[in-house]
């Protein structure tokens, strides 16, 4: 109603809502902080896990997930609140970009907004808060880069760093007791890639049974397939032909072709021709003189028999990824036509030994002594599929971080060291800045400090005391101090060997502050009328 008493006409659609000013801000803060609080208990080496249970009917809906991975938790949550969605979004991006720190980024953004809310209550304009945050972010980033160290990629130090980083990443996961074992395993796998960042070449095979300790890295390459019956189970010095071709019957690819016959004889003739065509194809393949034939598509009995008769071991139905890996590992070319047997030296892959092995109860094919040694396989064992899934996610995180480190090469100390250093830098800066922005810079420092605080809290330690001691220790100039989460003291990160990848921290800081800024700038939320859905 305006002053004259006219009813304000309805501008938006029915059921659409518009929240302005304080109401809008309140909504975003509440939503974002709620999400951050939800995942914050998973942070750090003593963080707890969550059970995710899908809702709705159906068999697959009873499958639950137990996880500690921030991105996985947030991804599977359904939230209504728009600000909460932004937090989920940044966590997802963090996962795609660096693979780890997915919880940290959501928690940091949430803490920033929590501090922001306090500033707004003090009647500081959001734009001033943002201006302060921007200064703080730059200062923090500069400090972060300054404290990072770089080692030569081939040196022993770098290798040690990698192991330490993997250990740090894995320490917050389910396999923390076996982290040394797995850290070593991951580092070896990543180093095999020789600087390439293609995670596809590291295959992870999950097999229930045994204990986590039984997991291992296989030097060779394991294909989760079986050798066709009637073929040799062990081939030494194998020459491998990798193909992607139809081995059932060749479809005629010319459009509009129809087979029309007028007598039974003709049918037999065509059938014979078809058979001959396949035989012809097999002959062509034989000209390459392979000892092993791997095909992506399925192989019918007839060609299979022909190949087996010639003493060739046949592996059918290798999925696309598996095939690419075989090709990468053995140096083979993926063939679809077979008209150039003279190129056989180039196109065939080689490996010293192919054999069928049993892992647990499943038969697999193992390729050892491959020509190109890039691909490798991690075989995970564990008591249940839930554990295996979680271990898989943890290993994936660790591999991602390692690959990022190999690319970026810079590392920082872990145990909350980098956050505390950044917070200290922001506080120093706050003393120099004139105007209201200084409050925001201080707030940024507090938010950063919340990360180690939460890690302490999750571990059941007296966070207030520890963080204060931590501050003092840093002030004294002890650059490598950090939280010792086994004893609940401030320890030397160098001795404990806790390191983290700079890129992960960098990305978390940038993404969290960008998201917080985005939410802070909003003063109006317009929700459109939800689309009407047909009830299924």
């Amino acid at each position: 109603m305006d002053i004259v008493g006219n009813v304000l006409p309805q501008v938006l659609k029915d059921e659409a809502t518009e929240d302005k000013g304080e109401m809008a801000r309140l909504q975003s803060f509440v939503g974002a902080i709620a999400v951050a609080d939800l995942v914050k208990t998973t942070l750090g080496p003593k963080g707890m896990d969550k059970i995710l249970k899908p809702t709705g009917p159906g068999q697959e809906m009873t499958h639950i997930t137990v996880t500690n991975d921030g991105a996985t938790i947030l991804k599977s949550m359904y939230v209504e609140n728009p600000a909460a969605k932004i937090l989920i979004e940044i966590s997802k991006t963090q996962d795609e970009e660096v693979g780890d720190g997915t919880t940290t980024v959501a928690v940091l953004a949430g803490e920033l907004l929590r501090e922001g809310e306090k500033l707004i209550q003090k009647r500081i304009h959001p734009q001033h808060v943002i201006a302060g945050w921007r200064i703080a972010r730059d200062v923090a980033l500069k400090r972060l880069r300054d404290i990072s160290t770089e080692n030569d990629i081939n040196s022993q130090e770098f290798h040690d760093d990698l192991v330490k980083i993997a250990r740090t990443t894995l320490s917050s996961k389910l396999i923390t007791t076996d982290r040394d074992y797995f850290a070593d395993l991951c580092v070896k796998a990543v180093l095999r890639l020789k600087g390439s960042s293609n995670l596809d070449y590291i295959q992870i095979i999950k097999l229930p049974g045994g204990t986590i300790r039984d997991s291992y890295l296989d030097d060779g390459f394991i294909l989760k397939k079986q050798i066709t019956i009637g073929c040799k189970r062990r081939i030494e010095n194998a020459k491998i032909l990798v193909a992607n071709t139809a081995m059932d019957y060749d479809k005629i690819k010319i459009y509009g072709t129809k087979v029309k016959v007028n007598s039974m004889d003709k049918v037999a003739e065509i059938e014979a021709a078809e058979k001959e065509k396949m035989k012809h194809k097999v002959d062509k393949i034989l000209k390459y003189q392979p000892t092993v034939f791997v095909n992506r598509q399925l192989i019918y009995n007839y060609p299979e028999q022909l190949l087996a008769d010639s003493g060739i071991t046949v592996i059918e139905h290798a999925d696309f990824e598996g095939m690419e890996r075989v090709a990468a590992a053995t140096g083979a070319e993926i063939l679809s036509t077979f008209d150039a047997p003279e190129r056989s030296q180039q196109v065939l892959g080689h490996c010293d030994l192919i054999e069928e092995i049993m892992i647990g109860e499943e038969k697999m094919i193992k390729f050892t002594g491959c020509k190109k040694n890039e691909a490798c396989t991690i075989v995970l064992r564990g008591a249940s599929t839930h554990i295996l899934d979680e271990v898989d996610r943890s290993i994936h995180d660790a591999l991602c971080v390692l690959i990022t480190t190999v690319k970026n090469k810079r590392v920082v100390w872990g145990g909350g060291n980098s956050e505390m250093q950044m917070a200290a830098a922001c506080e120093e800066e706050a003393k120099k800045v004139q105007g209201k922005q200084a409050f925001a810079i201080e707030a940024f420092a507090r938010a950063l400090r919340q990360i180690p605080t939460i890690i302490c809290d999750n571990g059941g330690y007296d966070s207030a005391e520890l963080i204060q001691n931590f501050k003092v220790e840093l002030q004294k100039g002890n650059q490598t101090c950090g939280l010792n989460m086994t004893d609940g003291t401030i320890g030397n990160m160098n001795e404990l060997g806790v390191k983290e990848c700079l890129r992960v921290k960098e990305q978390a800081l940038m993404a969290a502050s960008e998201a917080a800024e985005l939410i802070m700038r909003v003063d109006n939320i317009v929700k459109c009328a939800p689309r009407k859905r047909e009830r299924a």
Partner: protein, 535 residues
């Protein structure tokens, strides 16, 4: 009104309403329309200026977008009210024509309507009001042209263009990196601009987004980025000194459009057909290879066999390249699009310095970059950011900046921002008002007030006292006869916009005032709203 009587006194119905139609007439209709339009303008007014706030919009499907761009806000609000919809169109036409100032135009229209409401209360006829607005608009436009300045876009490494881009980017979430992004936008536009004809084909600037990294990682690629990878995993990932064959026919046996049947009735036919089929693939690859091409880009798919033959012949290829990309590549590399294999000739190949596959993040996504094209007339801006919303908003912001630069290349006259141009026009219109002897005088005076509303709104958003700061700026403009005094939004200590280097294009300002006046005139002409009741 819906009922009338004929010569014999019998009633007859003109408009069949009977409670099924809503109807508003006269003053009630004017006021309702104005209020609805004002509601939209009010929503936008807090987004104006460098300290403006953003809006969070939730779509019917629950997707969130956060934006500061006027046209996007009103579009995504899903406005229902018919008059309010006019404002949506107003903002969109400013977007289509100029690309920037989409918030300003709506706010101005809102201010004009507010003034119209008080004039209506005074009992002035709506047509008189719109007449007065019209005349005032002419005066304002003329004055804008007199205070505009020509700038040298070439001077000092296009500094003026960068400043104008910064002004456009200043109000967005990416404002922290406005200078870097501004430079990227300027370089992009200048790369594709035809300075002799003063024309820029914006289609040549491709804006590609990719989440991850941060806004700082946004960069300009002097070439084309396509979201595809090589068709066969074992093809080389980098081709130097590329000769590109651009195909719009699939690597498959032909599919004639006319309906046909090939009947096979004997085994010989069957074999022949098979051979012919094999021959197709060989011929196709041979034709491409023979032309000297060392990379093939195809709009359609490949058959497995063709794919392998390409690999065997060391001819990297890309499949399913989108139609717009094909055109862009054709323009950039000087390639001719080839619809049939028979027509491949060496002259039709495009040339580029390098074609390579690049990889992002850990999620194994690859894109193809075509660099150093023969006729570098296409560029790509790759936008990065922490989340999809930031990337989307950055894309909109860069689009605005690009539009501003294009407008400056077309017409290098500028006015100064910070509300100074509006204030100067307001003063001029006010002077003119006193010369008019009819009722329109009041309308013209109100027009001046509405123009002052823009700097008022700016000051308000920046946390300044709107009335004091506008009054100060106005008196200084009059005293010093300096039309460049505006609102010091960034608190830099000077109100002279020339010193602050806040540039806006003349064409954008002119368009804003004209479009806003037109829409207001249109709304003022409506005196009867008839709508079905369930609407």
């Amino acid at each position: 009104m819906s009922l009338a009587f004929d010569d014999y006194g019998r009633p007859y119905i003109i408009l069949r309403d009977q409670g099924q139609k809503k109807r508003m007439k006269g003053l009630e209709a004017y006021k309702s329309n104005i209020l609805a339009a004002k509601a939209v303008a009010n929503t936008l007014s807090s987004s104006l200026g460098p300290k403006g706030m953003d809006k969070m919009l939730v779509s019917p499907d629950g997707d969130v977008s956060v934006t500061n761009d006027g046209a996007t806000i009103v579009e995504k609000m899903e406005i229902q009210h018919p008059t309010a919809k006019l404002l949506v169109e107003l903002s969109q036409s400013q977007d289509a024509e100029i690309g920037d100032g989409t918030t300003g135009v709506v706010v101005l229209a809102g201010k004009l309507l507010e003034q119209a409401l008080t004039l209506l209360d005074k009992g002035i006829h709506p047509l008189k009001i719109s007449d007065g607005f019209d005349r005032a608009c002419d005066v304002a436009i003329k004055h804008l042209e007199t205070i505009s300045e020509e700038i040298d876009i070439q001077a000092n490494e296009h500094e003026a263009l960068i400043q104008a881009a910064c002004t456009a980017l200043g109000s967005k979430v990416v404002s922290k990196r406005k200078r870097e992004l501004g430079k990227i936008a300027v370089t992009a536009v200048l790369d594709v601009a035809d300075l002799a004809r003063r024309d820029v084909n914006l289609d040549l600037i491709k804006i590609q987004t990719k989440t991850g990294g941060s806004v700082e990682d946004t960069r300009l690629i002097s070439g084309i980025l396509i979201d595809k990878d090589m068709s066969h995993p074992q093809m080389p990932k980098e081709v130097n000194d590329a000769r590109i064959c651009l195909l719009t026919c699939p690597f498959e046996p032909p599919k004639p459009k006319t309906k046909h049947n090939i009947n096979i009735s004997s085994a010989e036919d069957y074999k022949k057909l098979y051979q012919q089929e094999q021959q197709y693939f060989v011929d196709m690859v041979k034709l491409v290879k023979a032309s000297g091409a060392n990379i093939a880009l195809c709009q359609w798919g490949f058959d497995d066999e063709a794919n392998h033959l390409l690999l065997q012949n060391e001819l990297p290829a890309v499949r399913w390249v989108s139609g717009t990309d094909v055109e862009l590549i054709a323009m950039a590399t000087g390639a001719r699009i080839i619809p049939r294999f028979q027509e491949i000739t060496p002259e039709k190949l495009g040339k580029a310095g390098c074609v390579k596959e690049v990889q992002f993040g850990t999620s194994n996504e690859r894109m193809l970059v075509i660099e150093n094209c023969q006729c570098t007339k296409a560029v790509t801006i790759l936008i990065r950011g922490g989340s999809q919303m930031i990337v989307d908003e950055a894309k909109r912001s860069i689009h605005d900046a690009i539009c501003v630069i294009r407008n400056l290349i077309k017409d290098n006259r500028i006015v100064y921002g910070g509300g100074s141009a509006e204030l100067a026009c307001a003063i001029q219109v006010l002077q003119y008002a006193d010369e008019v002897s009819s009722v329109e005088q009041y309308a013209i005076r109100s027009f001046a007030d509405a123009l002052e509303g823009i700097p008022c709104c700016l000051a308000d958003n920046c946390g300044l006292n709107p009335i004091t700061s506008v009054a100060q700026a106005k008196s200084r403009q009059l005293k010093e006869n300096n039309p460049r005094i505006g609102i010091d939004c960034m608190e830099l200590g000077t109100t002279d916009m020339k010193e602050q280097r806040i540039y806006e294009t003349l064409s954008s300002k002119k368009q804003q005032i004209q479009l806003a006046t037109q829409v207001v005139k249109m709304i003022l002409k409506i005196d009867d709203v008839i709508a079905p009741d369930d609407y």
